[in-house]
């Protein structure tokens, strides 16, 4: 899921300066799991904005804020509130914020920073293991991604910064290459560790990414 974290309230208030009426949008998926923009956080944000003298004209927690049709439907249903708002504060990842952008021409303010695609280790503990590089290579690495989990994203073994099996960039994090080595060793696949890998094909996805699955569906149907 997309891991996000709320921006400091001072930054939010600064961005909303001069705008009296605010519409708050949350997200029922990732931002709820990360306690960034679920029902509770949206209610808390409403109270804080009101404390700061703002009028909150409406709050909505979208099923998924990144679903643009869903977002447009919400704004159609809350037409009056949407029309009366000076600004929209979105408590979700940047994808959700831009979904709101598609649904209004008014000031849209992100209320959170999007951090990474994260695995949920346990409640409120998240770790980045995939960086959506466009071409999955982890079969070559014991299903442990060096592109993401090595601070340098290098593909042919550890750098000189391995320190007691930890990463020199952050001693709380395991060196991905030690994990990969241990995994491949346990699978008796160290011969594969010796494969020299070329650099990533960074054009595997042309950015910004876009896929129109309808064409593929049409082909299947035909």
């Amino acid at each position: 899921m997309i891991i996000s974290m709320q921006k400091p309230i001072e930054e939010i208030l600064q961005s909303l300066e001069g705008e009296d009426t605010v519409y708050i949008v949350g997200c029922g998926e990732c931002a709820t799991m990360t306690q960034t923009g679920g029902e509770q956080e949206v209610a808390d944000m409403k109270a804080r904005l009101e404390e700061a003298g703002k009028t909150v004209v409406a709050t909505d927690v979208a099923h998924s804020a990144c679903h643009e049709l869903d977002m447009k439907r919400i704004f159609r249903q809350s037409k009056e509130a949407a029309a009366s708002a000076d600004a929209f504060l979105v408590l979700s990842c940047g994808a959700g914020v831009q979904s709101v952008r598609e649904g209004t021409s008014k000031h849209v303010m992100p209320g959170a920073n999007s951090l990474f695609v994260g695995n949920v280790k346990r409640q409120m503990v998240f770790e980045e293991k995939c960086s959506l590089c466009g071409e999955c290579v982890i079969d070559e690495y014991g299903a442990i991604c060096p592109v993401t989990r090595c601070a340098k994203g290098i593909l042919n073994g550890p750098c000189g910064g391995t320190n007691n099996g930890k990463c020199e960039v952050d001693s709380d994090k395991d060196c991905a290459w030690v994990l990969i080595y241990n995994q491949m060793k346990s699978e008796d696949k160290l011969d594969k560790f010796m494969t020299i890998h070329g650099p990533k094909r960074w054009n595997a996805v042309e950015r910004p990414g876009r896929i129109d699955g309808r064409a593929a569906d049409a082909e299947k149907g035909a």
Binding site: N156, G157, G161, T162, G165, V178, M194, I196
Partner: protein, 298 residues
């Protein structure tokens, strides 16, 4: 003076020093160090934004070393440039007369002085070695034929005290397989450990012309030694050296460090441990001639 490559290929015990370009335009001390060392060593490494700290460029200073009659080992990290820029710089370096390249992945930007920068690592060290090998064969990375290929002597690094060592060894073997022709190690202080590492490395490079140089960083105080043990991954100063450094008054510490360095050079020569040494005095290059003298090299 001959070239670094000629020295390596001649089978003699090879000695290189290191020049760290300054942060700024005041180059007098650096030029003094180049002039002092250029005829005393077989080559001078020139570091590339070392420790991810922005400095005067490695290519320009390497060129200066060659212009002044020495030979330069142009250090190149993969941190700051993508594959187009790396190859562009390699062609430029070749044009300027540089012929030795030391390939490094490069310290992460988070340890340097521009922590907000985007690190690149489009290539890493093994891929950079492969790329230079291809350019030597007359092709760029994308497979296009070059109008004139390069003629680089390809260097690489290895960390004998890496913890754990097993994956580091495999990376070393990959660098050999990719085409590295000489290695300079990360700083080593425990000569028994280094001897054991070299027995392994000799096994890997057997039947090749790959040359192995011990990386020796001169200790200048007990504090420095302790700092490296604590904060520099892959560097280990054993207790007996800490004691030895501590056994002399503070003002004699540099001298003691020079003695230790000279003794380690001698150990490598007398026991035929490796093919040469790379001596790093980290800004105190004026002490290098005396170390080489103590080791009986000049």
């Amino acid at each position: 003076m001959g070239t670094y490559r000629e020295a390596c290929e001649s089978g003699k015990f090879v000695v290189s020093g290191e020049i760290g370009p300054p942060k700024g335009t005041s180059v007098d001390t650096m030029l003094h160090h180049i002039d002092l060392l250029k005829d005393m060593v077989d080559g001078l490494n020139v570091t590339d934004n070392q420790s991810a700290v922005m400095r005067l460029g490695s290519m320009a200073v390497s060129h200066e070393v060659v212009s002044r009659g020495g030979d330069a080992i142009y250090q190149m990290t993969c941190r700051d440039r993508n594959r187009l820029a790396l190859q562009n710089d390699l062609l430029s370096a070749h044009f300027l007369g540089l012929r030795n390249v030391l390939t490094l992945t490069g310290d992460h930007v988070s340890v340097g002085d521009h922590k907000d920068a985007k690190e690149v690592y489009d290539f890493e060290s093994v891929q950079l070695i492969q790329c230079i090998k291809r350019m030597n064969e007359g092709f760029d990375w994308a497979g296009n034929e070059l109008e004139g290929g390069t003629d680089f002597y390809i260097g690489a690094v290895v960390t004998p005290e890496s913890d754990p060592i097993a994956p580091q060894k495999l990376k070393f073997e990959k660098k050999v397989a990719a085409g590295a022709q000489f290695f300079q190690t990360q700083a080593v202080y425990d000569m028994d450990n280094f001897q054991r590492f070299m027995e392994y490395a000799r096994g890997v490079t057997e039947g090749t012309d790959v040359k192995m140089m011990a990386g020796l960083v001169v200790l200048t105080s007990v504090g420095m030694a302790k700092y490296m043990n604590k904060f520099v991954p892959g560097v280990f100063v054993p207790d007996e050296l800490l004691e030895e450094m501590g056994s002399v008054p503070k003002e004699d510490a540099v001298k003691k460090g020079m003695e230790i360095c000279a003794r380690h050079i001698r150990f490598c020569i007398d026991n035929k441990i490796c093919d040469g040494v790379h001596v790093m005095a980290i800004g105190k290059e004026e002490i290098v001639p005396e170390i080489l003298e103590l080791a009986g090299l000049i």
